[in-house]
Amino acid sequence: MLKSVDVLMVGVGGQGTILASKVLAAAARAAGYDIKVSEIHGMAQRGGSVVTQVRLGEKVYSPLISEGEADVILAFEELEALRWLAYLKPGGTLIINNQQIYPVPVLAGAAEYPQNIIAQIRARGVKVQVLQALDQAIACGNGKAANVVLLGALAQKLPIEEKIWRDALAATVPPRFLEVNNAAFGAGFKS
């Protein structure tokens, strides 16, 4: 059994973090890991900051990832990457979608969206992989599949075979969207 891996998925409500965590959990399970998944929802249907935590290992106790312990942060949006960066383990990987979604305080002019987030994080010596997941998903046929592009990039970093990922994707995504999602996964996996 391979070592334990903690993955934090962060984004904005509506971006598909929960679906992505489902596919990861299904793949990890098929690969023989114990898994715990934790998510927080309830206050609003959409628009808020969303975090899903997936932990895999031989035996997992807590469903939570603590500050400074995530092996990988998969950020669906730049500002959310910044918000959750303290959770990354020293030497951990940040996979980031270069999409910016302005929160309402920014839209209303009450706060500023920080500039050059990716460059600033990189300057801290963090391992960063940047994706244009939205553009890649649109090229695959549907912008909504940006979450699966990101998942493909994550899959590249984890010790789980590609076939297992593909099966997990097929088992989770509705059949009529599978083709687009398979293409999106492939695009992320290669990048």
């Binding site: 299904a26 309830g42 206050m43 808020g48 997992v60 309402v104 920014v106 706060a111 920080p114 963090v126």
Partner: protein
């Protein structure tokens, strides 16, 4: 076969596998998905009740009749259901009865954090606390056995991290559903004082027998360790402790009322220093201390908020159990602060027009529980208060009566589901006591905040059957409200006129602002566009707090993907720059 299930899905599975035939509840995060999952299993009747008190009464009736019953609610819901709960401990059950209380340490989606373990002790019912999904499922079966064998309701108390975390669960086959015979027994079930006094004595005896069970049940067990620091814990804290102190001896309590006193003493004698680790209140700690056992707890571990292993690690460092960690590099040093991303009313939300109007009219607004509570956040800032389900109407009446300056300037807002939950009695009071208050019922035809659950005015049941729809207008009239107006909240000028008229009018008024939740009924309307020539960058449109609108480089911009064409911004724009959309689709 194993499946990855949330604690809530596991409880539903446990109900299905263990012969529960009736389930009732009121939606409330983090409890909602239990009934949503359960309603999909065959052989279980499940329903949304208008409030938690009614749900528990339905469960008590079913159990009294001989069926196994499950009742679900969030922690604050138990406050509503407390009245029948306390007497249900006296009558006991016939078929097993479980009350799920889903508590929310950290207040991820609640107005307070209350530790409902005290309710179990206060109401004198048995209490079980699962720490993962497998335990959640297994404890449903054990709770039913306990309930039937000891003739007592059982509270199954989860917290958000058990309810909404997923872990592996071994699935079993459903048991044969049996209904126990019912026989009239007034001494047991009719709680007039003479019989109640007998059942009070019986309850003490039942609890004493249950305390013996608690000593020997597999729900309470010791994980052997190195004998130095020992930890007594329950619920999710158990998982955190196992991770933070992998070598420590742990007494894991799955049954926390009544407590296994002898087992606790035995464990305490095995370890050098004893800690209690529990989220929220010192529920276990105080009881253990009362046994004369020296124990450390809240002096190291906080009594507010949610625990994590990071937090526990810091606490155990402070307690001298773990070594001081080496300083690691702070990845975030020197980086800018991320601005907050608060949840907001959806683009096209029908409540937006109401809060915009209330704020423009500078009224004092007592609020209630639902998505629309978000209308209190900037820049809408259309609500002054939020206390509990149904409180808005009584509070508006109280303000109006007590403070002359607020007369005619105070309105209550309440959602349709919340009005049916506990607003009706408040409105009845307003009518009876000659209130001048105005109540705005934000009728979006669903229980939106928890994910679109049905209620008595939606025309459908939890199990998908057609149901009669309460006519809220007629209901208000029948309570004695003479002034009832129905308006479209997306028609701002009419809404404004109606609110002005009704707040000025003497006597109680009800304004029903009716339009379905934007996520419930997708109307295809063209997105709003901005005429760049006409836009002066005045930012009036931003006052709507619509996530589809921004003003960049002094010009308004509408995100066509997010805009649903509700037309509110078109009405608000003073220069005529916002165009398109349509309100009356």
């Amino acid at each position: 076969m194993k499946e990855l299930l949330s604690g809530n899905a596991a409880i539903a599975r446990g109900a299905y596998e263990n012969g529960i035939t009736l389930a009732a509840g009121y939606p409330g995060t983090p409890s909602t998905e239990i009934l949503e999952n359960l309603s999909r299993y065959e052989g279980v009747y499940s329903e949304w009740a208008p409030n938690e008190k009614v749900a528990l009464e339905v469960g008590i009736g079913a159990a009294m009749a001989g069926a196994r019953a499950l009742v679900t609610m969030k922690h604050v819901g138990v406050n509503v259901a407390a009245d029948p709960l306390f007497t249900a401990a006296y009558t006991g059950v016939n078929g097993g009865l479980i009350l799920v209380s889903a508590d929310d340490p950290g207040m991820h989606s609640s107005q307070n954090e209350q530790d409902n373990r005290y309710y179990a002790r206060f109401a004198k019912v048995a209490l079980l606390e699962p720490s993962d999904s497998q335990e959640a499922k297994d404890m449903v079966g054990l709770a039913l056995t306990i309930s039937e064998r000891y003739d007592i309701p059982v509270m199954l108390r989860t917290t958000t991290r058990v309810a909404h975390s997923q872990s592996m669960v071994e699935l079993g086959e459903p048991a044969v559903r049996e209904i126990k015979p019912y026989g009239k027994d007034v001494k047991k079930n009719l709680m007039v004082p003479a019989f109640g006094r007998l059942r009070r004595v019986s309850l003490a005896a039942r609890l004493a027998r249950l305390a013996e069970y608690s000593e020997n049940t597999p729900l309470n067990f010791i994980v052997p360790g190195d004998g130095k620091a020992g930890v007594i814990t329950s619920g999710i804290s158990y998982q955190l402790v196992r991770e933070v102190l992998p070598d420590a001896a742990v007494l894991k309590l799955g049954m926390t009322n009544p407590l296994p006193v002898e087992l606790i003493k035995k464990f305490a004698a095995q370890v050098e220093t004893l800690f209690v680790v529990e989220e929220l209140e010192p529920y276990l700690e105080e009881q253990i201390r009362m046994l004369g056992i020296k124990v450390a707890g809240k002096e190291f571990f906080p009594d507010t908020g949610e625990y994590s292993q990071g937090l526990l690690r810091r606490c155990f460092v402070k307690a001298g159990v773990l070594p001081v960690p080496l300083q690691t590099e702070d990845l975030t040093a020197g980086l800018p602060q991320a601005p907050p991303r608060p949840p907001v009313l959806c683009a096209g939300c029908p409540h937006r027009g109401v809060f915009y109007t209330l704020q423009r009219l500078k009224l004092t607004v007592t609020g209630d529980i639902g998505c629309y509570t978000l209308g209190g956040l900037p820049p809408l800032e259309g609500i002054d208060s939020c206390v509990c389900m149904g409180a808005s109407i009584g509070m508006a009446h109280g303000m109006d009566k007590a403070v002359p300056g607020l007369k005619g300037r105070t309105v209550a807002v309440i959602g349709d589901s919340t009005f049916l939950h506990s607003g009706i009695t408040g409105l009845l009071n307003a009518v009876y006591n000659n209130s001048d208050s105005t109540v705005i019922i934000l009728d979006n035809r669903t229980t939106a905040m928890t994910g679109h659950q049905d209620h008595p005015a939606t025309g459908r049941t939890l199990m998908g059957q057609a149901a009669p729809e309460v006519d809220i207008t007629m209901l208000c009239r029948s309570l004695g409200v003479k002034r009832v107006e129905v308006v479209d909240p997306l028609d701002i000028s009419r809404l404004r006129e109606v609110i002005k008229t009704e707040t000025a009018a003497p006597g109680p008024s009800v304004v029903i602002a009716r339009r379905p939740c934007v996520l419930l009924k997708r109307e295809v309307r063209p997105a709003v566009t901005v005429d760049q020539e006409k836009c002066t960058g005045c930012k009036m449109c931003l006052k709507l707090s619509c996530p589809a609108i921004s003003v960049i480089d002094s010009k308004a911009l509408v995100n066509a993907d997010a805009c649903v064409g509700c037309n509110l911004c078109v009405q608000v724009c003073k220069t005529g720059a916002m165009q398109g959309g349509q309100a009356d689709a």
